[in-house]
Amino acid sequence: MARMKFLCDSERCIECNGCVTACKNENEVPWGVNRRRVVTLNDGVVGAEKSISVACMHCSDAPCMAVCPVDCFYRTDDGVVLHDKDLCIGCGYCFYACPFGAPQFPQAGAFGLRGKMDKCTFCAGGPEPDRSEAEFRKYGRNRLAEGKLPACAEMCSTKALLGGDGDVIADIYRERVLRRGRGADLWGWSSAYGVKPGAQPPVQQPAATTGKS
């Protein structure tokens, strides 16, 4: 069974925002809502700048699903996390629960009222007939039902952003890492957290006693 996931290769992302544009265009996302965005760390620091494209990660144990008070989320057979806008009450719990800031809320009205939640659908539409006008208006294009992958991943010019079955895209990324010749140095804890390979984790010192009992 496929488990649809995104994987962004920070070594390749050039912060072109092509994925953001592709998503906006493909799904006709309203003004003020970005289902996908590019986050840059160490912006402007030569040699240390890294960018990564972020959207809904379609978590296997999704916190948005766990906290939704009206149970509007569901997961499809492909592992895509979707939601029903007819059930959503726009409470914003999912926004607080999501570690990626994926749920977005369109501003409705002059007083900043929140509309119904909108998020990346992995270009899989929602609970309306597939490829219908109603589905497009509420959720955007259903590219999976067309036998295509999400527009952001397919449009990525450097192929930094990969989309598809977790096993397949992990294999693609693994082969890239091997060809780069830096193997374990590029993929893992040390590259993410800056610990030198082979270094021992810091030993925790016992808390100092104050002498008082």
């Binding site: 569901y74 979707l82 609970p127 007939p129 259903n142 039902a145 036998g147 598809g164 079955d165 693609i172």
Partner: protein, 81 residues
Amino acid sequence: MRLALLVLVAAFGLAACGEKEQVVVYKQGKYQGKPDNRSWENDPLPADFRGGTWTKGDRSSWEESIKKRQLAQHEYRRIYQ
């Protein structure tokens, strides 16, 4: 009386603390009560639209088709093989 009140408060107060299992259940056109179709239950697009090719209703053929599309993201294989 106090115990009964405590039980009542606990029952209401902790009502939202449970967590439903996030398993995929597809029954009668619905995922956990939300109506949706599955991708392979659609007809493929006409060839001009460059979609995948699969047999309507056949999950494995849809998965095979989408896998080909995924592997097209692998430029080492796409270009050098």
